[in-house]
Subunit: 147 residues, 2 copies
Amino acid sequence: MSTDRKESVAARLNTVSMLGQAYSLLGFQIVNGVVGAGYPQKPKHSAVFAQIEPQGSRLTDLARRANITPQAMGELVDELEELGYVSREPDPSDRRAKLIVLTATGRAAVEAGRLTIAGIEVRITEIIGENGHKTLRRLLTKLLAEA
Amino acid sequence: MSTDRKESVAARLNTVSMLGQAYSLLGFQIVNGVVGAGYPQKPKHSAVFAQIEPQGSRLTDLARRANITPQAMGELVDELEELGYVSREPDPSDRRAKLIVLTATGRAAVEAGRLTIAGIEVRITEIIGENGHKTLRRLLTKLLAEA
DNA sequence: CTTGTCTTTCAGGCAACCTTAGCAATTATG
DNA sequence: CATAATTGCTAAGGTTGCCTGAAAGACAAG
């Protein structure tokens, strides 16, 4: 139907859809990158990796920061424990609680994620230029602060 | 912890996260706007409204374009039929098929969506300026075309 | 100690998809 | 032009990713 190159996309999509597509496209690349580096996981697991602290975090803390219920976070942690990325240690300061801590494999997976994201940032810069990337971040920052 | 105003956000978030947050923030506003205008619906329903053609569309077409299975699309259409937005008419050109067509209420809901989106585009322009908005769209277009 | 409050877990539910397995209508083929 | 393959839809049931409710163990305050 549409014979144009990219005008057809730009002309038909509203800005919100474009943001959604860009996010979906690049977000997938993050998970793919980490999985491709040999650390299988699901998208939802990144919520844990993103929040967990070096010395370990409590389940309820992780849940609160990821904005899900402790029960849901418990399931995520079960899965990551199964995969060997985290372990549950007793919290010395409160015997009710357990600390979720990264295993060596877990730390390697986090590092792989960091590298993947860095790579994607580089790719973005290659596509829209250093100035474009800086401008994009500035515009998004302003949008997030005021919308 | 972070005492700065918006630098803390910009400094900590990668570009992909920023895109995700912006999409989530504005996407919600679309649904809220349409629901607020008196057309109750769920976010997933917009997949139908966005794809349906004026003269009606087949279930399988809608499913293919929304990238879900015909069964899942069938459920969406069931719900929208229940809400009075669409009806299933026999397709004169193929007696296996039915055409999903918008009712008068459905057309009004689509129009409400169009107006809501237009309002959000205006709001974006207010926040980042006409030039900023244009630049944002140009950068996103390039990103979508090449990433 | 008793009462109340955390931290975590167990059980069950719901939404939004999916797969599998039909049936009915249409199109292709020997 | 009969029959085989394909297409359009639907019915039934499974999976995923959350949720709420309820309960058990550990701690804090009176």
